[in-house]
Symmetry: C2
Subunit: 66 residues, 2 copies
């Protein structure tokens, strides 16, 4: 189990928040997700592979920075 926070510059509206949450929740091992729109921060909890998270978000058009 870990909890990590990521910056996703392309988050720009409430629909983005919904899409990023859905994409992150689809990653195996992820147990909880939250997105803060003003800071464009994604917080993820669980025993997940960060590479899988990055790949999933990039595929949906929301690459993690850097």
């Amino acid at each position: 189990m870990n909890q990590k926070t990521y910056h996703i510059p392309s988050i720009s509206c409430g629909n983005c928040v919904r899409h990023v949450e859905k994409a992150a929740k689809a990653v195996p091992g992820v147990t909880a997700v939250s997105v803060d729109l003003p800071t464009k921060k994604l917080s993820v909890e669980g025993a997940f592979e960060e590479s899988a998270l990055r790949a999933q978000l990039a595929e949906d058009g929301y690459p993690i920075d850097p």
Copy 2:
């Protein structure tokens, strides 16, 4: 073949444009799609069922108005 334009109030950023375009293109019979961000207008060409288009977009969080 027909060409129709729809108003989608929840379109609010460039990512929305991308998601709406992808959702509309997935509807059987749709041959061309364009989205204008400032006016929140979706234009669709093809021999498609409007009910299928409306259902697809609503499912993705972008319901057509009205």
